[in-house]
Amino acid sequence: MARNIEAAKCVQCGKLHYPTHFYCPSCKGTKFQGVAIEGEGTLVTWTRSHVLPLDYSTMYITLGIVQMDMGVKVMGQLDVGTPQTGMRLRSRIGKVREIQGSDIKGLVFTAI
């Protein structure tokens, strides 16, 4: 079972943010609770990238920004044939990259 990707919830004011900040964007608090980024969301924008960093051997990767129902926007890889802005997606944790021989896990989205 892969480790979750987490947003940070301010212990002081409840504001949720992602990625991590040292100070809460709302109240400057410095204590946070991890909240798993999971569930469903809506595709905000996407791209199919044909020019890739060194570590990939595929022809392209599909990337998107997703507004999660749980409250934060995230970048993730899309496992979707024909993406369309506004489509509904579900997240899972999967391998998104290999860096110096290690698998990196991250958010991968499929169509609902």
């Binding site: 943010h17 992602y18 990625p19 905000v44 924008t45 996407w46 791209t47 199919r48 990238s49 044909h50 020019v51 890739l52 960093p53 060194l54 570590d55 990939y56 990767i61 990337l63 998107g64 920004i65 926007k73 995230v74 970048m75 993730g76 890889q77 802005t85 998104v96 990259r97 860096i99 990196i104 991250g106 958010l107």
Partner: protein
């Protein structure tokens, strides 16, 4: 603060370097020193803009190396990195040095030799600018971030691939007039978008962006000399005053911006620069904007205040940003055609603007001989932006 002026400018040919990074930087610096007719006057400090020497050229302490190569000891030497906005950052530092009275004569030199590594390594290196664990690990590159931005922008404001191609066609036409430009190719709408060979001539890089929506990977160096205004009149027939500098930062991860189609840092930087200069966008007669991707020229022209939000592409359609239009943008060819030696670009934009304000831009001189010019130098994917206003005379 003292008034500060640009009293000399220089630049190498852009493209694939024939020489080492340091030698390119010497050539550009020498040209600027000659242009300023410094005579026996000493250079007090050297501010170098560079992004990749430690990774791509096995060199650290680049500014110290330049002082050595040019025998400028004991001049102070500093190397500044702000990704693609390193150039404007080094320029700002030089400005602060002179404005404060700490230094009198300052050399600002940008240099980048990306093509010492292959294209894949260069792309990977530039992607180090993205957010380490919320973006980079997903394999996003700078063209990828630009593509995510472009799709949103196009869908919201009715910008089409034709509009993007119009930016490329305009800037390549300008680049043809600039003998130092990296790319000197005439391109047509048919050739890159509507004709039968378009997809071969102009393949996808990161959809909806194609090859001609992205600037090339260039080597090159530019340099300029700064001096206090009172000294500037002695050193230079046509000094150019640094009227305003503004800077803004934004979230590192593009997706964290409340509205990711807004380039807040461009807006803040521009407003601050205009405020310091005591001018408005209406006073500007020429602009060098950061068109690393065609969509950025359109978006920046709006955030800077030249056109209402969502209407930059209409001004483009009307030809207002052509070299003989109301507000010529990137008469030098921009990053698209002049080239984008990453850390150098900001210096090169200011060199180009100085030439325009002096009336020394030759074949790509804006015919109106503008009195005030404007630049945007865009760091990361818009998370650290510097805008500058230059004015003719001191």
């Amino acid at each position: 603060m003292r008034d500060v002026a640009i009293v000399g400018v220089g630049s190498t040919q852009f493209g694939r370097a024939q020489w080492s990074l340091l030698k390119m930087m010497c050539e550009a610096s020498h040209e600027a020193i000659q242009d300023a007719s410094l005579g026996d006057r000493k250079i007090d400090a050297v501010f170098v803009a560079n992004m990749g020497s430690a990774r791509n050229n096995r060199m650290a302490g680049l500014a110290s190396a330049l002082v050595d190569r040019m025998n400028l000891y004991p001049a102070a030497a500093e190397t500044i990195e702000n990704g693609p906005a390193s150039g404007a950052s080094a320029f700002k530092m030089g400005f602060l040095g002179v404005a404060s009275g700490f230094y009198d004569v300052v050399l600002v030199c940008g240099g980048e030799r990306m093509r010492e590594v292959n294209n894949l390594e260069a792309t990977e290196f530039v992607s180090f600018l993205s957010h380490r664990y919320a973006e980079y690990v997903y394999g996003v590159t700078l063209p990828g971030l630009a593509a995510l931005f472009a799709r949103m922008y196009m869908e919201r404001y009715g910008v089409t691939n034709e509009h993007l191609a119009m930016v490329a066609i305009k800037n390549h036409a300008n680049g043809l007039l600039n003998r130092k430009a990296h790319i000197r190719d005439s391109i047509t709408m048919e050739g890159i978008l509507t004709g039968p060979d378009a997809i071969n001539n102009n393949p996808w890089v990161s959809e909806p962006l194609r090859f001609y929506d992205c600037c090339p990977v260039s080597d090159g160096s530019s340099a300029l000399i700064l001096a206090p205004a009172n000294l500037a009149k002695e050193l230079c027939r046509k000094p150019v005053r640094v009227a305003g500098i503004g800077q803004g930062t934004d979230t590192h991860a593009v997706h964290e911006r409340p509205d990711p189609t807004e380039l807040t840092a461009v807006r803040i930087a521009s407003q601050k620069a205009f405020h310091m200069a005591g001018l408005t966008p209406q006073d500007i007669g020429v602009a060098e904007l950061h068109d690393a991707f065609t969509i950025l020229e359109i978006a920046e022209s709006e955030e800077a205040g030249f056109f209402p939000k969502g209407e930059g592409h209409k001004a483009l359609e009307r030809g207002e940003t052509q070299i003989n239009g109301r507000l010529p943008i990137n008469p030098s060819g921009g990053l698209k055609a002049r080239g984008h030696p990453v850390g150098n670009t900001g210096v090169s934009q200011l060199v180009e603007l100085s030439l325009q304000l002096r009336g020394d831009a030759g074949k790509y001189q804006v015919p109106s001989r503008p009195k005030h010019g404007f630049t945007v130098n865009f760091g990361g994917f818009g998370n650290n932006v510097i805008a500058t206003v230059l004015s003719e005379g001191v």
